[in-house]
């Protein structure tokens, strides 16, 4: 059996080896990067380059999974965020590369930039900044469906129109990003169709005995989910539209620099400019009453979904021998009130004694 000292020696050596390997790997990948760079300056090879970079960074995170330090979670979190920041930095370059090329080749016209940029990539960038998970909405619907399937097999058919509507909606996102408001309406229509073919029908169904409470709660939950989905899409649309406005401002600012003959020789300088313009543009949005109200509505809608989900869960767990959340809440209330009473009495007693 290893002694404690042996263990730490082994551990230290293994940490050293990780770092050595990482350093060696970096050197190799740097050579690969340089090789790609010398092959051509355009977009060709850039996709490969990004793949190589992503694999490499993923490998780093895997290697650092167990650093063994006391604040290991914070360190891992920080590394993940740094990695995410670096990837966003890379993504930014990918978005702007065609424009840089057009500027160098002097083919950039005031309207050409729209053709040169990929709206999906812009959306990905904004998703990264604001933590929007592009699959979150369909995931939420799928999770809800799975939950319902588990407890009520008959509901499976009921959920199908919703899943289909959600899938359709997710395909509409690219149009949203390109600034087509009619696509938002299409999403609403898909959702209303799903509503009509599920909940709408059930309004005409007679009471279903002891399960009625569950069904009613389920219907309310689905109703809340549809409200949340619609609100969230509206909210994200607001954010994407602002992202596009910021993009145009970055182009305009760059054009100003061209006019004044100012040079940007490093991508880092461009990155700073991009951050500054985006912060300013989004701040203007965040200050508006419309945004504040929309944010409040999205939050409330998401809370309603959560609240109903927990209630529904409690209803299904009621027959199991476990303490439910609402029962614990009651218990906490009793303990809180008793403690308050005891503290008051202790204080009075202390005053009498004094």
């Amino acid at each position: 059996m290893e002694t404690t000292k042996d263990f730490f020696d082994t551990w230290t050596r293994s940490q050293e080896r990780i770092v050595e390997n990482l350093t060696e790997t970096t050197k190799k990948f740097q050579q690969v990067f340089w090789g790609l760079g010398s092959d051509g300056e355009g977009m060709s090879g850039f996709g490969d380059f990004q793949n190589v970079y992503s694999s490499w960074t993923n490998a780093i995170m895997n290697a650092l999974r167990d650093t063994g330090t006391v604040d290991v979670n914070l360190i891992r979190e920080t590394l993940l965020k740094t990695l995410s920041g670096s990837n966003a930095y890379l993504k930014l370059y990918e978005i702007w590369l065609p424009l840089f090329k057009a500027i160098r080749e002097k083919t950039l016209s005031p309207d050409a930039y729209k053709d040169l940029t990929d709206p999906l990539k812009c959306k990905e960038m904004l998703d990264r900044v604001f933590g929007f998970d592009p699959d979150a909405i369909s995931q939420a619907a799928n999770q809800a469906r799975k939950f319902l399937e588990t407890f009520t097999g008959s509901v499976q058919q009921f959920m199908k129109p919703w899943a289909a509507a959600t899938e359709k909606s997710s395909k509409t996102f690219p149009q949203l990003v390109e600034g087509h408001p009619e696509s938002l309406m299409k999403i609403f229509h898909d959702m209303f169709d799903a509503f009509d073919s599920t909940i709408g029908r059930s309004f005409h169904v007679p009471a279903v005995g002891k399960d009625r409470e569950k069904i009613e709660l389920l219907l309310r939950g689905l109703d809340d989910l549809s409200v949340y989905l619609a609100k969230n899409i509206e909210y994200q649309n607001m954010m994407y539209a602002t992202g596009l406005a910021a993009f145009e401002k970055v182009v305009a600012t760059t054009a100003e620099k061209i006019k004044s003959g100012e040079e940007i020789t490093k991508f880092d300088e461009f990155f700073d400019l991009w951050v500054k313009v985006n912060e300013k543009t989004y701040y203007a949005l965040f200050q508006t009453e419309d945004f504040s109200k929309m944010q409040g509505e999205v939050l409330e809608a998401s809370l309603n979904v959560r609240k109903h989900f927990f209630k529904l869960m409690e209803l299904y767990l009621y027959d199991f021998p476990i303490a439910l959340r609402s029962e614990m809440d009651d218990l906490y209330k009793t303990v809180y009130e008793m403690k308050k009473k005891v503290k008051g009495l202790e204080k009075q007693l202390g005053e009498v004694k004094a």
């Binding site: 780093i60 160098r104 991508f267 700073d272 991009w274 200050q287 409040g296 809440d329 009130e337």
Partner: protein
Amino acid sequence: MKAPFEAFDMKNYLKELSELNTKFIKGAETLVGIDEIDVGTAPKELVYEEDKLKLYHYRQEGKVTCGVPVLIVYALVNRQYMLDLQPDRSIVRNLLQHGMDLYIIDWGYPTKADMYLTLDDYINGYLNNCVDMIRKKTGNDKITLMGICQGGTFCGIYSALYPEKVKNLVTLVAPFDFSTNDALLFSWAKNMNVDALVDTYKVVPGDFLNAGFLMLMPFTLNIGKYVDMLDVTQEKESLLNFLRMEKWIFDSPGQAGECLRQFIRDCYQENKLVRGELKVGERLVDLKNITMPLLNIYASGDHLVPPAATRPLNDLVGSTDKSLYEFKGGHIGVFVGSKSQKELAPAISKWLHERANGETAKKNPNTRKSHSKAQE
């Protein structure tokens, strides 16, 4: 004339990227060598405990020159060790070196069992008990309260309810007038359904609040900060500085639901404190009851608690000895900035020393001089 990107090509970019990943690797190497991110290291002893609250007394290595003990009250949001983040960025150590006798409250991390705690419990209960404990321990009838951010609001409320126990009141970046929309959190809070929030979560998670803070500057705080961090990762001490701040930012206790409900509804949404309509427990809070000397410190560039929310306190209190101190910087800079260490902490110490023996600003002409930016 050269276009901005003429000198900017793929090779340049690859070179920059290669530098970026080299920094990343070196940073990873430095990170592996870090055993602990130490914060709040000024020596202190636990002197009182109640539920999850802990009251600490800082060990004074030198001589106490200011006879009135100071109780530091931090916000319920985030942790009090921000005031002692690291030895060279520590208001606590700075004040100790100036001969102050310091106590600090650690509110702890509320769990579901604390969901019913109200403003009444925090102010008339915990805070009042801590004040009484210090009064008893030190033999002082009155002590100094130094409240930070929401903790400053709590101290203001407490001083209005118990003026007989408070010798001096010092508030740092503490909101009182919530009618302003100068900061995003103030306008966002007004459109938040706090009942839905509290009824759903019971104890509102710290991560929820953090998401709001990150939204204030999303590009800088989610991307730019971490790209910039790569420039300092090679130096262990610089990286530790970054990590200490990072630890503090994301070390966010949950918020006891009932207390948060009342704070957001009564203060942020209905501005009851300024209007004299706030009730804590059974008692109405009248800020005019604050008659002790007041030092109100605000940060001119504060994007969390704007000056419009802090400054009005001086017009609302009954004190005749009141000072307004403008700190040129932001909310966080008040605690850890170099100006905070060089100017603010010594100014607070001087202001308190001058009042330790009942002297007022009028009696001591140096007061105004000591706060070059203070306005009476």
